[in-house]
Symmetry: C2
Subunit: 342 residues, 2 copies
DNA sequence: GTGAAAGCGCTAACAG
DNA sequence: CTGTTAGCGCTTTCAC
């Protein structure tokens, strides 16, 4: 007997006494096959354990039924949530997802994009791309379908879904101000990412609205990772006139902030209020539970996928940037500042 | 000008004045090409923006240079760590990784395996498979290379890497016993997974070693998810004679336990000690930091990948199960029981 | 309805 | 060293 790995439509054709063209029709649910014949082929396929070779299908057919997803990293709840949304939408359409991790390496990113766009997949979903400029032009001009997720293009108008980062940061800062905080520390994310820039802008706008002077030393530049939160908080608390609240540009950094605050024997929220951004699952689990700005991550995945499917169906369709709303989630890590409360 | 998406080796051949066979040699770093010719081809490739079509390469060449990874889920730090290890090893060999998420659906799992094993990838890495029995036999008999990660086969002897789950659970339980705990609650994981079974067995063995009677009502069956930790802890604390320590089969459930404990106004570790398993990044970040059993997740990814590469190179090579050591990490969530300490 | 034939873009012998 | 020639397994015309 032939190895199961090598069963081709030709074997199925022989086994069911039809030409291999007919087998192909059965595979592709072509209507022009007599039900009886179809059944015979189906039986043979099952009996032989036939599985179509995708490489060959795509090479011949020109499409792969595969969507490529490029993510900087996994293991942060952040991406997992987005993927959940993508998977859900894709599953509905019978498309499969293949995920690539760039580990924040711009060269890998561009390389993957080149490969994927070259026959591996039908469309691309790019989460938090680092240097999209490197390849977006190429993608666009060759008409390859793609959607950016959580990227604030630097001018380019391309299909993208994000969240209202500016608004979220503004609202959170405003909330701290209304609580009575005047000195609010801010820890940024990767400043080459639009979302990080927007959060900083939102923070600044809120300060301006409430006529609070911006102190440059209250802004610490981080990279969205936990140690940055720790280092940032340490630096801020070392200031001659330290802040009474710290707003980190994501939850992971906020965890680092909490750690640093506690390690100095200060209490949250009594001595220092802490606010994060994202509302990842852990933010409700830490102690005290973290006040944060929620991003609708799963929904962002869903919407991005829908956009991509739309472009796939009608390549002419113009798709711009969609922004989903953020929401302030107040939990236990924030309170009025001590000097005012006491 | 031809669209960049359609540049084939034929175009490159024409542009550089050689046959397309030579272009293929250049692509594959064949030694039998005059340096001068090679350079000319390389130049043409760059000029035309040529990228080889992977589908065609695999169809013709019989290999894809792609490794498939099947995971139940993403977004738990657990998998992210493993992937980091896999990526590192694969990167060294110039292989790419494509990740599939099964969302714990057994049918999806079997389906993906069938597809992947059929030309999509050269080898398969399966993390925490749910129903490997469904396809392992097929995979084995057709000689398709694969390695299971963190799966305790139910009898089958196939390539796998895991951790010393029994030992880890034994050590942690022993530690609690030596602290003075006599009533130790245990929350299991998915009991159809070997690792979950082993952890339960390790817990039981430790109790037996120290002649502590096993109380069946102290064992709560969970599914590795946070709500289970919450529910399990709630059930255990409702017991007429509640435990003084709770050992959850993973960190995520331990977070749920901590939550439940706190919500009842009890203090950790003063009133209740809590222990987890895995040592995910967050376990050091929660308050109090969690005592847990560390699994060498990244290393598991590395070792599994090395095994797979070994099998890929020499299919005859027999590979069995490898177990990597676990280690107890003592942090702030454990202390002697109150009645004994006080 | 179904068979036959022409590729999809590339690798891998085989000649020279 | 380089050109030539078969396919890889499948989709898609085009006939009948």
């Amino acid at each position: 007997m032939k190895s199961a790995a090598k069963i081709t439509i030709l074997d199925v054709a022989n086994a069911s006494g039809v030409s291999f063209g007919t087998v192909s029709r059965v595979i592709n649910n072509d209507i022009h096959v007599k039900p009886e014949t179809r059944q015979r082929v189906l039986d043979a396929m099952r009996r032989l354990g036939f599985v179509a070779n995708r490489q060959a299908q795509s090479l011949a057919g020109g499409k792969t039924n595969l969507i490529g997803l490029l993510v900087p990293d996994l293991g942060t709840g952040y991406i997992g949530e987005i993927i959940r949304g993508i998977d859900a939408e894709l599953g509905l359409m019978g498309l499969d997802l293949i995920t690539y991790t760039t580990h924040r390496t711009a060269s890998k990113e561009a390389n993957y994009v080149a490969n994927l766009a070259r026959g591996m997949v039908d469309g691309l979903l790019l989460v938090l791309p680092r240097h999209p400029a490197d390849y977006i032009e190429t993608l666009t001009q060759r008409g390859f379908p793609f959607v950016l997720i959580d990227h604030q293009g630097t001018g380019e108008n391309c299909p993208a879904v994000g969240a209202t980062n500016w608004q979220g940061a503004y609202t959170a800062t405003e909330y701290l101000i209304k609580l009575g905080h005047q000195r609010i520390g801010f820890i940024t994310g990767w400043m080459d990412l639009g979302c990080a820039q927007d959060r900083l802008k939102g923070y600044r706008s809120a300060l301006r609205t409430y006529h609070i002077p911006e102190a440059p030393d209250l802004v610490y530049e981080g990279t969205f990772s936990q140690p940055d939160g720790y280092a940032g908080a340490s630096a801020l608390l070392d200031l001659p006139n330290p802040p009474t609240a710290i707003f980190a540009s994501n939850d992971v950094m906020a965890m680092g902030v909490m750690d640093a605050v506690r390690n100095r024997g200060l209490r949250i929220p009594d001595d220092i209020s802490v606010v994060g951004f994202d509302n990842i699952a852990q933010s409700a689990m830490v102690y005290p539970p973290l006040t944060t700005v929620q991003q609708p991550l799963e929904q962002m995945g869903r919407v991005a996928t829908q956009m991509l499917l739309g472009i796939l169906k009608d390549p002419e369709k113009e798709a711009g940037r969609i922004e989903l709303p953020t929401e302030l989630i107040v939990r236990g890590s924030t309170a009025p500042p001590k000097d005012r409360a006491g």
